[in-house]
């Protein structure tokens, strides 16, 4: 096991290094002057800024030298300056990350808590009404564009029915709880501020449902397919021949096997939610990484986009590493 983890970790580090190279190459092979792209028109019009920038990133040196400088700066946490906010990209990311983590986690839990049981029941009661409902839900989930779903939910539940709060993490007049983790739900509990907690929770409902929709579809589909596959394995028949109840057969024999691919998919889905909530956050004015990404893209804020891409790639790698490790824990055959 330790050997396996070390090996996986090594692979992840190698991949992370390669990812930095990819990002560096994208950033430095942009058509036009990289200095111009990365400083923005305003700053680039100042010759002093331009000069300092060229010197810092050694833009006149060959590509390899520049890559090593890039790596060195990276090691110090320097992802460059955002053109739009005129602040270090890393600071911006640190600022926006908690909102995204909160939303993604709630959305993911929602989809997993509904999707896994739904998939299991749909498989066990194949062709029953549960199966048909599950199929419908998952098809709509994977087929509707997130940005549109977000709009519709907002239009119906906030605009028309007025039973859901509007965009944002909190009511415009409310104050954020004292910052501990940056997650409003947890911080408000720490502060004992139940009004804020309720407000934060209410604001989470619509965006997390939207975010969960597509993931829910995927998780339900995968769970159902995987359970169906396992239901016809010989060991299930053996379990039945032992006299186990159907419930025990499902819980003890089918699920431990069937959930292995679901864990992989779930991990990837969570990674996607953490990194890909762009549309949902934009529509719900959610002050997270996704909206930051959207704004940076809209403003062609190049350093910010590259910074986000890098952070997101590393997050992806870490989650993949965790998937690999949990895979090994769940399936004894992985490590020989």
């Amino acid at each position: 096991m330790p050997r396996y983890i070390v090996s996986r970790l090594g692979l992840a580090v190698v991949m992370a290094l390669l990812a930095t190279l990819v990002i560096f190459l994208i950033a430095n092979t942009v058509p036009g002057d990289p200095a111009l792209a990365q400083l923005g028109d305003l700053a680039a019009s100042n010759p002093d800024f331009l000069k300092a920038f060229r010197a810092k990133w050694a833009l006149d040196e060959p590509l390899w030298t520049r890559y090593f400088i890039f790596l060195k700066e990276l090691a110090h946490g320097d992802l460059g300056m955002s053109i739009a906010s005129q602040r270090p990209v890393l600071d911006d990311i640190k600022n926006y990350a908690p909102a995204t983590i909160e939303l993604a986690t709630v959305g993911f839990l929602l989809s997993a808590v509904i999707g896994v049981p739904l998939g299991v029941i749909a498989a066990v009661r194949r062709d029953s009404w549960v199966d048909h409902v599950a199929r419908f839900v998952s098809l709509i989930g994977v087929s509707s564009p997130t940005f549109w779903l977000a709009f519709i939910m907002l239009a119906i539940f906030y605009g028309e029915l007025q039973i859901a709060p509007g965009p944002g993490r909190l009511d415009p007049i409310a104050f954020a709880p004292p910052n501990v983790t940056g997650l409003f739900l947890i911080d408000s509990i720490f502060a004992g501020d139940w009004n804020t907690f309720r407000d934060a929770l209410a604001h989470l409902v619509l965006p997390s449902i939207v975010l969960a929709a597509a993931t829910l579809g995927l998780i339900t589909r995968t769970t159902r397919a995987s359970v169906l596959e396992c239901m016809h394995q010989d060991y299930v028949r053996v379990a039945r021949a032992k006299g186990l109840s159907e419930r025990k057969i499902v819980m003890r024999h089918i699920l431990p096997n069937a959930l292995i691919p679901v864990v992989t998919l779930g991990g990837l889905a969570y990674a996607n939610l953490l990194t890909g909530a762009v549309m949902t956050e934009t529509i719900f004015s959610w002050p997270g990484l996704g909206r930051y990404t959207f704004r940076s893209a809209a403003a062609l804020d190049f350093p910010a986009i590259m910074g986000i891409t890098l952070v997101v790639a590393v997050t992806y790698l870490i989650i993949n590493l965790l998937i690999d490790i949990s895979y090994a824990l769940l399936d004894p055959r992985v490590i020989r």
Binding site: T29, P145, F147, F151, G276, Y316
Partner: protein
Amino acid sequence: MSVTAQAGVIAVDKPKSLWRRNFRRYGLPGIGAAIIVLWVLVAIFAPLLTPYTPELVDVTKRLQPPSQLHWLGTDMLGRDVLTRLIFGARISLFTGIVVVLVAAVFGTLVGGIAAYARGKTEEVVMRITDLVLCFPPIILALAIAAALGIGATNTIIAMLVVWWPKFARLARSMIIVQRSQEYVEAAVVVGYSPARILLRHIIPNSVGPLIVLVTLDVGNAIITFAGLSFLGLGVVPPTPEWGSMVSEGRELIEQWWVATFPGLAILSIVLGFNFMGDGVRDWLDPKSRRW
């Protein structure tokens, strides 16, 4: 539950509804195909279907609700939503199909060569796919599209970069499975050349899952392109495109029609491809019990 039912009740129970099974087998894929054909026809005959032009700005008519004149209302600049929707079908269908087909052909070739060459080539190719797959697709496409600049062509290129690796992986694994089959060994023993074995024996037996993935994936590509357009990267305004239409209407909760209809259009076409993809899978692999 089905397991207990089969193990418990002995009485002759009603035979499975043939109607329902046939609907699953032919009905839904049929509906999917009909939706797709409909949209293709709409895209081809777009100018004949509407009296307006998609770019015609008329600020005096801005944000009109659906009416006899404008069936789906007008947008902020007074453009007819239905007209833009009809013309928008062109770019959505085109990008979705082009991205998936080009990625599938390129990915299959790369994956096939990797599987066949083995050794170092395979190692390098598969590491590259790993590398691409270690970025979240939307973000990587976003980064590349941002680097290349706004425009449909650049967005398509960005999507292609993100899209081909999954086909390379699938093709490689399919070919590896086929390669050790006895009929391929028999072909080796007869003396055929590697190219002939690959083209005539292995690939015809590997295309099934690839076709399924292609069909199911066109929907994905359409959604992704619309998403990038929504973010302002896909098409240059005022080109009509569904994602950017939703984007234009996203603040207009009162004027719901501006964003709702383009979204429904995306939903319908994606559902169409999903229905058809499921049908193709059932047809190629009747034993599969997925939906």
